[in-house]
Amino acid sequence: MKRFIVFAGKRVLFAVPQLLAVSVMVFFLIRLLPGDPTYMLAGPYATVERIGEVRSSLGLDQPLLTQYAGYLKRTLTGDFGVSWRTSQPVLLDIQQRLPATLELVIGAVVVSVLIGVPLGVAVAVNRGGIADRLVFVYGMLAGSLPDFWIGLLLILVFFFALQWAPPPVGQLDFGVPSPDHITGAYIVDAALSGNWEVFWSAAGNIVLPLATLVIVYMPLVLKTARSSMEEMLDARFMLQAKASGLSRWTQLRYALRNALPPVVTVTGIVCWFLLGGAVLVETIFAWGGLGQYAVESVINSDYAPIQAVVLIMAVFTTLVFLIVDIVYYLLDPRISV
């Protein structure tokens, strides 16, 4: 236990410089983007003096280090500037949209793990069976089809043709009011406040976007679970385990415990991929989440939100890998503090 606290403490401390590095990168990335905000703000007919004024009002005439310090200070106090497209503070925009994206991403991760790991293990245990071949084909197909394509296909089949799914117009059906704000994620909030009408509406709407993400990204989890389990079933220590007369179940448990750590790592990577995937899928399903916000901001050259979204995604990734490392540590005693 003490070892664990030391490890977790060290790892969290290590995340601080990582986050700082992220902020530096975001800061410079924005300065590399084409288009100088001065000219956009000052307008096409501005005089040289006017441009100079705008520059100094933006602080762009300061040394870079001072600019960065200012940026860091504003970021830490939650001041991401104002989006000129929505005319709202970016922080507010994000607060409204982030839960929807997290709902989608976390939901997709959970479902991918819940299906991918047992399926991968089952296939590894019954190597060469029919399931094994089906999984192989699925892995090939899913790896070669782009996610927006699968999203559109699902809409075509389940909304246009079969009419099973609601139209892809957001998180709730038309006319259904959003639930009381608790976490911001509709399904969770509806369930928490016992608002079942909203709950079912939200649940129905999330099926297709979630399925799109799961179909595209689950194979990673599945393949890793399978190959890692296969490797462990063939590991040398399994021979001694078998020769000692351990039951089939205990043998499987031995292999599974050893197969899990790589699955955890890949799950972290999938989380990261899903953030990217969510951008497209949200746009297709008019999800109104952070991804869609990002796309709209890019299209409209709305820099403050872009900067904020990139930062948030980077922070999210850092946190995910922090969690991955800690879970990995718990699963594998060989990791040293």
């Binding site: 001694q240 020769a243 000692s244 007369g245 351990l246 050893n258 005693p333 060989r334």
Partner: protein, 611 residues
């Protein structure tokens, strides 16, 4: 004695897509209650497949094509997985080599032992853990209760092997099967493991089937032996008879090779292995007036390791090598032998201490001085492939030190290379070859030629024969001896092959945890080792001869870490003669008898009776 296991006409094949190749052909053998049977054969002879087949652990593409495996009359080949699971571990148990790879890396050893116990006895986990602690105690693991919490990676190789043994005997099996029980272990640890194994089956009156490539193990521990070659049993005999009068040609070859490792001369003269005993080597007298060529004073080497701690690899040692003298440096893995060699050659910087070579202090030399020194002080490494550049022809490799340290003309150098090749027993044509075109033995000859090219006064050999096959070893040792006598060089010969040292060296120094514990004239030291560690080390040599079974002198436990050196005498944690003082007083290496230095507060050397 009733028959416990009987294998009849077992045939196993490798069934590939296109080809089927027999790997065991009609193998028959039997083990009785309380009997110890050895199975010997070179790697690839099918020993491990045989074990897997007996335990029904064969996986495709290997398939049993015929025969029977009878355990008390029950044919294992006809049982289903359920019955097999009930038998495995309970009736017949397996202990595998490479122990660390055969333990589950992410479960505590307490858990693994408990799982195995509970696979055959319906007792609660807590009770199983108590039983597990008892088992760990029975295989001499200190602090057994504490160790239940340990993971395999936290244990040394020797301890892992003990755990594997504990797993195997957890349910008091009727037959214990052991695969290469000593591979990868230090010699003083492997004899402990072998003793434990034998004692365990004696106590249970179980049968023991030992598979080993090491004829020493077989000669010392087995009652009967079967010899396997290419998937067949070519000989089966009582162990004394086998070593005295082997019947089969292949058996004779095996014995011959084992003996050759000990005694190169007799092997190459083609004498019968029966004649081979560990007779003292013919004298090769030391050139008279042996003035010190190299003197090492208070040499110390520490390495910084993780968390700001230090590892003491060489702990304050002093010794000298006379002109024309060959000195052996022996000790188990990690004792610091190679580090001494590298310090002497100034390949790494000593932490403290001074080195004198031909009366000149060399510990501070740098630049040209150091380069000049290198010409007179050379080294030969263990793996010849590592020390040669694969893109360099052999003549270029041998020529290199000449062009670096001398100002010979090109023509002179070429002539010298030709001479050197001849000197080390290679043909002139070898000069234009590249490393990959030669065998390991030939390459080691090149390594030697390269080292002696500049006519050094001292050559340091670091395990020059351990990467070589047994039969080639003998030739290389002969070559080294020959060269030494002809050219009058001094050797520092680092090895854990005691028989090689005995053949080659005038004096021997024994090292333990960075310290010299005993130094003396080789023959005398081997006959009458006095320091407890020397006695343990020398008595752990398992001679391939049942008439010379070792007289046990055992140390307990494993070698401590050189990071937390024990206080006082470094051996006191393992020494059977230790007294309370040993933990406090650090004994110095002192001359206790003429020509014999010793570092122990409780022992004085006994004079060799033959002198």
């Amino acid at each position: 004695m009733t028959t416990l296991l009987e294998v009849r006409d077992l045939t196993v094949a490798f069934v590939g897509d296109r080809t089927t190749r027999a790997v065991l052909s009609g193998v028959s053998l039997s083990v009785a209650d309380g009997e110890v049977l050895g199975v010997v054969g070179e790697s690839g002879s099918g020993k491990s497949i045989l074990l897997a087949a007996i335990l029904r652990l064969l996986q495709p593409p290997w398939q049993v094509l015929g025969g029977q495996v009878l355990l008390r009359g029950e044919n294992l080949l006809e049982q289903d997985e359920r019955r097999l699971a009930a038998l495995r571990g309970k009736e017949l148990a397996l202990a595998l080599s490479n122990p660390r790879q055969h333990l589950n890396p992410i479960l505590t050893i307490g858990r693994q032992l408990s799982d195995v116990i509970r696979a055959h006895r319906p007792i609660p986990h807590a009770a199983a853990l108590a039983a597990a602690a008892e088992l760990l105690k029975s295989v001499n693991i200190p602090d057994p209760v504490l160790r239940l919490q340990a993971y395999p990676h936290e244990l040394s190789g020797g301890m892992c092997q003990r755990v594997i043994l504990a797993l195997a005997i957890a349910n008091a099996p009727k037959l214990l099967i052991v695969d290469e029980p000593t591979s990868g272990l230090d010699v003083t640890v492997s004899v402990q493991i072998l003793d434990l194994m034998r004692n365990a089956v004696r106590k249970l009156n179980s049968g023991l089937l030992v598979v080993s490539r090491d004829l020493g193990v077989v000669a010392n521990y087995c009652e009967r032996v079967v010899v396997m070659n290419a998937g067949r049993i070519v000989e089966e005999a009582e162990v004394r008879r086998f070593f005295a009068t082997p019947q089969n040609v292949y058996s004779r070859k095996l014995l011959h090779a084992a003996a050759a490792a000990r005694d190169a001369d007799l092997a190459s003269s083609g004498a019968s292995p029966v004649l081979l005993r560990t007779e003292p080597q013919p004298e090769h007298p030391l050139p008279s007036a042996s003035e010190p060529l190299l003197e090492v004073r208070d040499l110390m080497k520490r390495f910084p390791v993780r968390d700001g701690r230090v590892l003491t690899a060489v702990n304050d040692i002093s010794f000298a090598i006379g002109r024309g003298e060959a000195v052996g440096l022996v000790g188990e893995s990690g004792s610091g032998k190679s580090t001494v060699g590298r310090c002497v050659l100034r390949l790494i910087e000593p932490t403290s201490g001074t080195l004198w070579f031909k009366g000149q202090e060399i510990s501070k030399l740098a630049g040209t001085g150091l380069r000049k020194l290198r010409a007179k002080l050379q080294m030969v490494f263990q793996d010849p492939f590592d020390s040669l550049d694969p893109r360099q022809s052999l003549s270029a490799a041998i020529e290199e030190p000449l062009s670096l340290t001398t100002d010979m003309t090109r023509g002179d150098r070429k002539a010298r290379v030709a001479d050197l090749l001849q000197l080390v027993g290679l043909s002139r044509d070898a000069a234009s070859l590249y490393p990959h075109q030669m065998s390991a033995g030939e390459l080691q000859r090149v390594g030697i030629a390269r080292a002696i090219a500049t006519q050094p006064d001292l050559v340091v050999f670091d395990e020059p024969t351990s990467a070589l096959d047994v039969s080639v070893r003998a030739d290389i040792l002969n070559l080294l001896r020959d060269l030494q006598q002809r050219l009058g060089m001094s050797y520092l010969f680092i090895s854990h092959d005691l028989t090689a040292v005995r053949r080659l060296c005038h004096r021997t120094a024994i090292m333990y945890l960075g310290k010299l514990v005993e130094v003396g004239e080789t023959e005398e030291l081997f006959r009458t080792p006095s320091h407890p560690y020397s006695r343990a080390l020398l008595s752990s040599v398992l001679y391939p001869d049942p008439a010379q079974r070792r007289s046990p002198f055992l140390l307990s436990g494993e070698i401590p870490s050189p990071i937390d050196l024990p206080s006082g005498c470094a051996l006191h944690t393992r020494c059977p003669m230790a007294t309370a003082d040993c933990a406090r007083i650090e004994p110095a290496l002192e001359e206790k008898a003429p020509g014999r230095q010793l570092s122990c507060i409780n022992v004085a050397p006994e004079r060799s009776k033959t002198q």
